[in-house]
Amino acid sequence: MRIAVIGAGAVGALIARELTRYEADVLLFEREADVGWGVTKANSAIVHGGFHEAPDTVRARFCAPGNAMYEGLCRELDVPFRRVGAYVLAFGEEELAVLRELQAQGEENGVPGLEIHSREEVLAREPHVNPEVRAGLWSPTVGITEPWTVAIAAVENAVANGLKLHLAEEVTGIEVRAGRVQAVVTGKGRYPVDAVVNAAGLFADRIAEMAGLKEPVLFPRRGEYILLDKAASGLVRSVLFPAPTEKSKGILVLPTVDGGVLLGPTAEDLPRGAREAVETTPEGLRRVVEGARRLVPGVDLSQAIKTFAGLRPESPQEDFVVGPTVVKGFYQAAAMRSPGLTAAPAIAKWLACEVMASELSLSRRGSFNPIRKGIPRVAELSEAEWEELIRKDPRYGRIVCFCNRVTEGEIVEAIRRGARSLDGVKFRTRAGFGRCQGGFCTDRILQILARELGVEPEEVPLRDPSSPLVMGKVRP
């Protein structure tokens, strides 16, 4: 039995990991040079409660159950997760009515603990919220995580359980004969397979087309963000939503797991072909500021350290396309717009352990180990633990990224685990993610990468060979 999963984002990574529980060769194909560099890299990083989703949707079916799985998942995979709770804020009576609808909807979806809080209660918990707030819908189960770490950790764990990871290998064809999947074709070869899982994010429609399917139809919806430095961390404790619109959950203000504050996203529909349009725009950034200040007027833009944009795969029916298809052996985990990250563990469990295990008669392996240990983060260790680590390896006492307190030991370990670029190190260790944005550490990380990989510094890219950091040496 051989199964190919296409797309190493959070969704594909979690499905691939579930599949390694069974007696099967599992292959994971990713067009990017690293794990989690598509939709997973640039989103709001929220584990949603499930009250935003209409009860008859696939989103609603998997959101609250996915949320409930996050604690266990993140414990197994050593991924940061904090259940910080969320408010949907109402300004005026009309929006208060929206909160009541959301509460009813959430209860129908099985979302626990929803309560409407008065203005005073909201301001007591979140003193920086716009004092004109009328009320807030409190959802205690909403959490925050690091989406790329979910993907990286799931893949590391799956590889430890036998997964074969194929990075920088784009799928160019799916062979189907007599209504059944036969093989996956990539730029590097042809792989006969018994089953394929389409978790290709923004490109899932193209993969589906290769199998002869018309669903999903996708277009990119762009979301722009502004990240504030840790100095802003006192601004919010929980995730703050405005009352939602037809199209989106609105522009939010929320804490990040490493202590920063994130503002955004916008929701701008792009033409179907614009799948790499991750540019920020003047209009988008203006909207982010305006939307964020409506919730928290004291947002201080002098604390901004980064702006970025991400694309989410949207479909006309605004719902996930998951499960088996008319092509035998071809499974979808596609159109994973928000709350895709939240739903991912529940979809992975359902698709792999119920649908595929039964249809493909998969049998369990005895040796599956669900535990993955993350790279030690000295910034989060006790003094005694850190001392112990330095005793074993003095490189854990040499700080390279001063803003986020990341040591040479952590960077070397990230490279050992597969980082091949500056972003590979950054997303595994948070080095360069802080207030100076790599101003002090970029050259040092470049040197460490070159040394550990045994290459020239000119060969170390920002992301992959198309994004070189330096272009040769100075005159001899």
């Binding site: 001392e387 003095p394 100076c436 970029t442 050259d443 005159r475």
Partner: protein, 412 residues
């Protein structure tokens, strides 16, 4: 964790810190300097151009030469240094510092602490310039380290945003290495660096300086492909219709330095305009055991000033550690007209001091007044060149008798 007791601990091994530790040791203190990098010298190491030391050593030196001189003074002073040692936290209750090093976590209990952590560069992300996030965008300091320390070329065709000194220096440096430097852009109507650098780095090499220009957008998904350059109005807002695309693979940013005070800002009053601690003429902050010197107090133009401040801080911190720094009367210096940066914030009777003043915008003719007691006329004051007024003797005593001293720069 090992605890080490010491008279004076200096954090930061750049010019201010080296001078501070040396001065403290010469004053008789047991002085220790800790530096997070593997070598002392701070930013001087990468500044291989000349222009340093004209005030302190009366000759023109390169950055490494200046550092070498200063380290000579350090070595003969008896002060000690630990490199590769990064401070993690400072106890607000008293002078106690925890640091990390490859030898383990270290704890220091000094009698006086000197904060000399310098400044960091404002990053690209803080500018909120639209566009993608390709490789090829560097702060000038990082570009300078790549070229001068590591011998690596950041790109082939560059544009520099911001005409601060390091941006001007890097424009010339890249040009000399064969990189095509298209232009230096400056948002304001006047250059951000010293006039001598505008002449020696741009004019001498025919590199255009475009005032009232900025980058409106960056292009390129993987590596930078180009930037949209736009003119701006008086408020710095882009003027529609003036956009033009410039093909470059490298964008170098020199858009400001931010004094680095993260670990002390929670308990030491900062001057919001300087973005550094409030200090008196002894470089003592509002927390008596904590002294501060260098670019973390305010960003200075010259390393000579930074080293001079460091030495003063070292001397007074050593006296404080000996219990010989009486808490005397201090007279506040307050900002009047046209004063952006101001150091120090308090005069101490009997302590001669320079007063450093930075104006917010250029004035063709100006009269500088310190409390109406010391006045000086200047032709052409600029934000990029600090005014230094030395106070001592009778004038200082007269000022010290006032309830407060107003510092102002009025058009003359």
């Amino acid at each position: 964790m090992r605890v080490r007791k010491i008279d004076v601990l200096v954090v930061g091994g750049g010019a201010a810190g080296i001078a501070a530790a040396a001065a403290a040791a010469r004053e008789g203190a047991d002085a220790l300097l800790i530096e997070r990098n593997d070598r002392l010298g701070g930013v001087l190491e990468q500044c291989i151009h000349p222009g340093f030391g004209l005030h302190r050593y009366r000759e023109e030196l390169t950055g490494p030469e200046f550092a070498h001189r200063l380290l000579g003074e350090f070595d003969s002073s008896g002060a000690e240094a630990v490199t590769g040692c990064t401070v993690l936290e400072v106890n607000p209750q008293g002078p106690s510092v925890v640091a990390a090093s490859p030898k383990g976590l270290l704890k220091f209990r000094p009698k006086a602490l000197i904060w000399a952590t310098g400044a960091r560069e404002r990053p690209f992300g803080a500018l909120r310039i639209p566009g993608a996030r390709p490789a090829g965008i560097y702060t000038a300091g990082l570009a300078q380290r790549l070229v001068n320390i590591h011998g690596l070329l950041p790109g082939r065709k560059a544009i520099v945003l911001g005409s601060g000194d390091i941006g001007l220096i890097m424009a010339r440096r890249l040009h000399l290495e064969g990189v095509e430097v298209v232009a230096v852009l400056e948002l304001r109507p006047f250059p951000g660096g010293l006039m001598r650098n505008v002449v020696q780095c741009l004019e001498d090499f025919g590199i255009p300086l475009l005032l009232r220009h900025t980058v409106a957008e960056v292009h390129g998904k993987d590596r930078l492909q180009g930037v949209t350059v736009v003119e701006v109005d008086e408020e710095g807002r882009p003027l529609p219709g003036t956009e033009r695309y410039v093909e470059v693979d490298t964008l170098v940013l020199s858009v400001g330095l931010i004094p680095e005070n993260r670990l002390i800002e929670g308990f030491v009053p900062l001057d919001p305009l300087n973005r550094g601690p409030v200090v008196n003429a002894r470089l003592q902050t509002e927390v008596p055991w904590l002294f501060a010197a260098g670019n973390n107090v305010a960003v200075f133009d010259l390393v000579d000033s930074v080293a001079a401040l460091g030495a003063r801080a070292g001397t007074f911190a050593a006296r404080y550690a000996r219990g010989e720094l009486p808490e005397g009367r201090a007279v506040p210096l307050v900002r009047g007209e046209n004063v952006l940066h101001l150091v120090p914030h308090r005069l101490v009777p009997g302590v001669p001091t320079p007063v450093y003043i930075r104006v917010p915008h250029p004035l063709p003719r100006a009269r500088v007044s310190i409390g109406g007691v010391v006045t000086r006329n200047h032709v052409g004051v600029r934000p990029t060149e600090m005014i230094e007024v030395k106070l001592s003797g009778e004038a200082l005593e007269e000022l010290a008798g006032l309830p407060e001293v107003r510092v102002e720069v009025s058009p003359a």
